[in-house]
Symmetry: C2
Subunit: 202 residues, 2 copies
């Protein structure tokens, strides 16, 4: 077995696993997100997606095993995006300030794309459940959240759960009852203040 053969196994020039293949996959996922943002998480078909990327529907099956597999890729994509944003948040300053930054990022992320929020956090797509590898990314988000809360002095299970309820509630209400507005979003800092006071953080 030559070195070339080994490298080809790791990253083949063509076929599944090739850079070209991965690029097209990303392009398809991106098109699906655009449609979901525009028409809702369930408001598009494989034919619609294919049209956006300049293909016919059956060609998508070269890249995804089916619609649920595409949802799974979208799920993983959403997790990666939130994770990237979460890791960039500064941990400097008083705990309550860090928490405020985290809450703003989370609520902002959810509100920015209701369909994405629905897929990632509401689990409301009929037959869909994330694959193990995608779900691992969601757990990573949770781990990061736990880490931040722990550093702020709110490390118990109840602390974490009340936190997620609070930020999720703001996002849910904003999306459901004032889409595109700021009615709940603007309460984010107040909510964190309330949370920190009850937890005796500063």
């Amino acid at each position: 077995m030559t070195l070339g053969t080994v490298m080809a196994m790791a990253a083949p020039v063509r076929g599944p696993g090739s850079p070209r293949h991965a690029d097209t996959r990303r392009e398809i996922v991106s098109a699906a997100w655009d449609l979901a943002a525009e028409r809702g998480l369930l408001g598009w078909t494989l034919k619609d997606v294919a049209e956006v990327v300049g293909m016919r529907a059956p060609s998508l099956y070269v890249y995804f095993a089916g619609k649920n597999d595409l949802y799974d890729a979208m799920y993983a994509d959403g997790c990666t995006a939130l994770l990237a944003r979460g890791e960039r948040i500064s941990r400097d300053g008083a705990p309550v300030d860090v928490l405020r930054r985290v809450a703003r990022v989370y609520v902002g992320f959810c509100v920015a794309n209701p369909a994405r929020y629905q897929l990632m956090f509401l689990r409301t797509v009929p037959g869909f459940t994330p694959s193990q590898s995608s779900y691992a990314l969601a757990l990573e988000i949770l781990r990061l959240t736990r880490e931040v809360l722990d550093a702020a002095g709110a490390g118990s299970q109840a602390d974490l759960d009340l936190w997620t309820a609070l930020v999720t509630g703001l996002a849910t209400q904003q999306i459901s009852n004032d889409p595109g507005g700021r009615r709940w979003r603007r309460l984010t800092d107040d909510a964190v203040t309330m949370y920190a006071a009850a937890r005796c953080l500063r």
Copy 2:
């Protein structure tokens, strides 16, 4: 025009508006809720509903103009149920105690039937929007909530919005991440305590 004719116009013996017709409508709505609770809000068809009530699908069109009309009746039914529960809550005792009772009822109601919660508060059914008369019931729920909060000394818009975010968040998390459990539900009292403290209520 005889008295009999007038009464027949108000409540005809047969046809739309008759007691029999209304009974059948209720029976159909009830069957739809059963299916929604079991298979999810979108996990059933008109054929399924018809089967439960011992009919064929086309017969349902005698009672509802279509599936969205049935969803609308379910929406109104859910609002009426929550409203009835809300009006039965005692307003005796300290404000914080009243709020605790209200929160328990609300979260309990949502958690008891995730599909109902999804229809009423998440607005995630593709083509559905409640009719004006159904939506009036939802506004009545909001009015009642505002009334209770006002009596407790939390009468501002921000007070109301933070409240709805809090209880909605608990319900959302419970349903999405621990269905059938108590992980978030049991934090209801804590959450109200936190809310009341921040609002300087007692």
